[in-house]
Every structure is written in structure tokens, then in C-alpha cells.
Amino acid sequence: MAEQSNAPKPDAQALLDIFRRMVRIERNDDAIRTAMRRGRITAPYYSGRGQEVIPATISHFLNDDDQICTIYRGIHDMVAKGIPLRPLWAEISGKVDGTCKGKGGPMHLTHPETGVMVTTGIVGSSMPIANGLGWAAKLDGSKRVVVAYFGDGASNIGAFHEALNLASLWKLPVLFVCQNNGFGEHTRYEIATSVDKISTRAVSYNMPGFTVNGNDPDDMYAHVHAAVARARAGEGPTLLECKTFRFLGHLIGDDDFYMDKAEKEAAMAKDPLPRLRARLIAEGHASEADLDKLIADIEAEIADAQEYGANSPTPSRDELRRDVFAEEMPA
């Protein structure tokens, strides 16, 4: 999309890393949906199926101490970042060994140890908080970068505007990553958004902005490479609009009457996951057996995590008095 001559390209190792992250996301998503179908998990679940390339490529460039703020549709972002699966599963199962002791659930998964700082259920609210983490990174004199994930619909809410203006003024090391999947709930992009490309809005903040093919690891690689380098160099934020498609509706259980069937089928036919697999093999970076093994290992890890979550105890009602404040509330 945007021109990037001499753009850096992912080598075999990078592509494999991105693929591995994508598989973890997709297998994990599949396992969650299966568990939901079987009634083993009861929770509102917003799948990121189809959007894997975006966080997988971004996380390839992130260090352990880099941070993300994400949204209700964010488990793909967290898995890409490296959140451990056992406490993730315990959390979405509402158990004490969950990242949040079962108190936050899938919409508020948090794991500061791996840089998963905030998961919000409020459209737009990841961005202002990411700024503060960026400010802290800057004050620390560190090279940390912070990623604020959000959707296309979120680009129309006030918090987007305030956050991008401040980040630009303060030259904060933040990547604003819009996962433009074409819909906000049931509403098509063009009904809600007055501009053709969300990246255009970067102009309002004197910030670089790019529209990227979010399903293409090459295009993502080049743009994320540049944006992360810019942030680490103290040159400030970048807005990346990553175009993708939401395969599974707004939330599991929603029917897709509002989607154009042909458009949806065409998008799903270009599923980036099998495409990357085919490419890895075609380009000789891996054999079918290698990738099967990689997938099998991941599936085993997920099965173990799921088991762990299922076996973890449920929280006691005393938890209602804990973590409201640092000190426990009186009984």
C-alpha cells in the first residue's frame, strides 16, 4: 500500500517467528471456541480470527519489557506478545490461578510481567493510557515502546483524537495500531467513518500515518520495523492502520446478516494463516513436517493450559473485598 522502496523484508527466521505466533493465536482461539461450544467456558468472547498477522508481526519487533494496551478483542494481541497460556486459560475460566484471579475475565486480561498492561472494554480507551506508559518509558530513559491496539470504529471516538494529539506533542514512544477489520459491531466502516483511510487522520497530529495490508507479513514487517525504530529513537509516535477482516462476527454467537456474503467469503478465502504456511514451504524455510510439529507442540501447550484452567479452584467470595484498594476492605 504505502510505498516503501528498500523496505526491510522478513527473513526466514522472522517469517517463522511470525508464523509461530499466528498459529498460537489461531489454535488458542479455536480451543476457546470449542470450549465455549461445550459449555466449559461461559464468557462473552470477541475473536480475533483473521487478524493474526497484525499482532504477530508487531510482537516480533517487541522486547519482553515493551508494553501493549489492548481491547476486548485482544486475546490475539496478548498471545502474540507472549502472555503465558496457563493463567490465561484459568482467567477466562474464572479461576484463582487466572492472571487476574478470575476477576477480570477475557475482556480485562492483564499480565504486566509480559507487558500486557491494560485490556479495556471501552472503545478508544486503550490509547490515552498507552500514552502514560510511553511517558513513563521516556522518563525512565528507557527504549521501551508501547503499542495501543484499537479498532476502526474506535477511530471515531474522542479519546483517539486526544491521545494522538498528546502523543505527537510529547513525542511519546507509542505505536497506534488500528486493526481495521471493516466493521464496528454490525456497522460497516463507511457508515461510521467519514474518511477513506484512517491513516489520513495522522495528518491532524503531524504524525506519520500509513495504511498497511494487515494480512501481509511483508507489508506489516516493513512498516512496523520503521515505526518501532522511530519510537525507540525518541522520534515519536506512528499511526498504523492495518487493514484486515473479521472472520467470526463481532462476538461469538452473533449472526452475520449485516455482512456481505461474497465479501466475507472472498476475505476468508485469503486466510493469511494457510497462505503463510504455504509460503514457508514454497520458499524452503520449513518442511510440512516441521510445521506440523510446531503446530502439534502448540496444541499440546494449549491442551495443558486448558486443563490447568479447568482444574484451578474458583475464587472465594472474600475476593470481592480484595484489590479494591491495596488494603483489604472490611468484611
Partner: protein, 329 residues
């Protein structure tokens, strides 16, 4: 005697909308996903309206709650009667300036020149594991604000009648829906007309104890009735329906009769709407109560995700029975 129709809250509100829009071309609808191509709202409560009345009157908006309420206020100043949806009550926080500083105050600040006849529909309520940011009960905030009425019906008939009143009311109304009340079926008279705002309903008559409640909590109080009966307790359930301005007369009459009062709401107990009602009852019936007013509400924490915690968070029928027994003892 009028024909009774069986319907749930969604259908009842929808029926009110159709009637109101038929009767008055000034009635408008706006909100996220609200038109038919987007499903008539996430709960489908507005289904069919855009097809029937046109997308110029029933508009899907961007995710821009300030713009939604702002557009509703402006259209109201321009002579229309907009029904705006803020999908969930927690999202009123991003539109709070428009609601509190503007919608609720323009009449007063303009010395009566402006009026803002808008209805803000919003959904809330725990019980669906939507956790910390999707199901708070904030009616206490709005009840504390001057210039806005706060409504929360618990039966389909009340939903229809109160929605009709909200739409025609010359002032801003916040109409609170909950998953539980929307999905519960009930009888609605075919000719159900507007039900006056500010009037409570004695949903169940009784003599031992008064339970003041509203919204989904009314349903949970009803669920306690059998156990209360088995314990020999005759409970009078007063469904407040309008939280602000609230019906002191009905509540005080019931409280004076029973001498024992419980207020049960889903909102956090601490500094919650029940405090106003309890304080008023004590003030007005000083020395006449047999026991201090008992307030039941949520503990002071965010709504938890885990089912066991969410169940513990809510005021359950069992909690009501236990509190009633203590009031009797």
C-alpha cells in the same frame, strides 16, 4: 377489559416506539447499530423502525457517544423528540458532559427558554459475566443530578407505558433497560397507554415488611416471595419504576403500614440510591419504624467476572429472605 398480549420487554419497548413514531413525526431514533441494516440495536429493541419510518428518522451513528447525545440535544432544541441509545450504561461516562452539563441543565440555565425532550435508553445489569466495565448500575448518579428523570421498569407492560411517557415528556429521561427485564415475558394490555412518570407500583401487597426495589432487582425480589411466604412473612413489594423523581407518597405509606423496610437494588450499596430512600423514610417516619431500614446493594467493588463472584456480588433472592427474617426477628 382489554386484550392481553404476551410479550417480553424488547417487544414491549418496540411496540411503544412504533406507536410513538406513528403518532408523532417528531420522534427520532439514533444510536450505534440502531437501524435495520445493523440489526435494530444490539438487543434488537429498535428492530423494524428504520424500515418503517426511514433512515432519516432512525439513524445508525458512529461510536461517538458525545456526538450521539449532542445530536439528540440539538435536535430536541430544534423541536424533535429524539430517543438516543447509549448501548451500555458504563458508556454514559464518555457522554457525561453532554448528559449532565447540557441535557439536564439547558432548561434551567436558559430560564426556561430551552427544553430538551430526549430519552436516553441504556442497558446494564450483571449476570452475564461481562465483568467490570459493562454492567454497572449508575442510576444513583443521575438521580443526584437536577433536570433529568430516571426510569427503570421491570415488566413489559411498564416498559411500554413508561417508554411512551418518556418520549412525550418535555424533559430528558434516562430509561434503564437490563438483560433480565428485557428478556422476561409478561402480559401487556393491547391498549397499554402511557404510565405516568414518578409513580411507584405496589407489585405485591403485604403487611409485614416493605421491600422497595426496581429494575431486574424487582424480579429477584419476586423470586424470594415463595420462601418469604414459607417463613410466614407477608412482604409488600414496591417497584419504584421512576427513581428520580421518586414516589415518596407510595413508599412512605407502605413503610408506615408495615413499619419494616428493606431497600434492595443492584447498584453498589455505599452512597447508592437506596441511601436517599432510607434517609427519607427515617426522617419522615421517625419513631414509627419497628426496625431500622435495611439496605441491600452490591459490595463496593467492580463487577467481577467469575460466575461464583458475580453471583456473590448480586443481591440474590436468598439474601432478601435472610434480610427479611432479620427484620422480623
Amino acid at each position: 377489559m382489554s386484550v392481553m398480549l404476551q410479550m417480553n420487554g424488547i417487544q414491549a419497548i418496540n411496540a411503544a416506539m412504533v406507536e410513538a413514531m406513528e403518532a408523532d413525526p417528531k420522534v427520532l431514533v439514533l444510536g450505534e447499530d440502531i437501524a435495520d441494516p445493523q440489526g435494530g440495536g444490539v438487543t434488537g429493541t429498535m428492530k423494524g423502525l428504520s424500515t418503517r419510518f426511514g433512515e432519516h428518522r432512525v439513524r445508525t451513528t458512529p461510536i461517538s457517544e458525545q456526538a450521539i447525545i449532542g445530536a439528540a440535544i440539538g435536535a430536541a432544541l430544534g423541536g424533535y423528540k429524539p430517543v438516543a441509545e447509549i448501548m451500555l450504561m458504563n458508556f454514559t461516562t464518555v457522554a457525561m458532559d453532554m448528559i449532565f452539563n447540557h441535557a439536564a441543565k439547558l432548561r434551567f440555565m436558559s430560564g426556561g427558554q430551552s427544553q430538551v425532550p430526549i430519552t436516553i435508553r441504556t442497558l446494564t445489569g450483571a449476570g452475564w459475566q461481562t465483568a467490570g466495565q459493562h454492567c454497572d448500575h449508575l442510576e444513583g448518579w443521575f438521580a443526584h443530578a437536577a433536570g433529568i428523570k430516571v426510569i427503570a421498569a421491570s415488566s413489559p407492560a411498564d416498559m411500554k407505558g413508561l417508554m411512551l411517557s418518556c418520549i412525550q415528556d418535555p424533559d430528558p429521561c434516562l430509561f434503564i433497560e437490563t438483560g433480565m427485564t428485557l428478556f422476561s415475558p409478561g402480559e401487556v394490555p393491547a391498549d397499554q397507554g402511557p404510565i405516568p412518570l414518578g409513580k411507584a407500583k405496589v407489585a405485591v401487597s403485604g403487611s409485614d415488611i416493605t421491600i422497595v426495589t426496581w429494575a431486574a432487582q424487582t424480579i429477584r425480589c419476586m423470586m424470594a416471595l415463595q420462601a418469604l411466604g414459607e417463613a410466614g412473612i407477608s412482604a409488600e413489594i414496591v417497584d419504584l419504576r421512576t427513581i428520580s423523581p421518586w414516589d415518596k407518597e407510595t413508599v412512605l405509606a407502605s413503610a408506615a403500614k408495615t413499619g419494616r423496610v428493606m431497600i434492595a437494588h443492584e447498584a453498589v450499596r455505599d452512597f447508592g440510591p437506596g441511601a436517599e430512600i432510607a434517609a427519607t423514610i427515617h426522617e419522615e417516619l421517625f419513631g414509627q419504624l419497628k426496625k431500622p431500614v435495611k439496605r441491600l446493594g452490591a459490595p463496593k467493588c467492580a463487577v467481577p467476572f467469575a460466575k461464583v463472584l458475580e453471583d456473590a456480588y448480586l443481591v440474590q433472592p436468598d439474601d432478601i429472605v435472610a434480610a427479611a427474617k432479620a427484620l422480623m426477628g
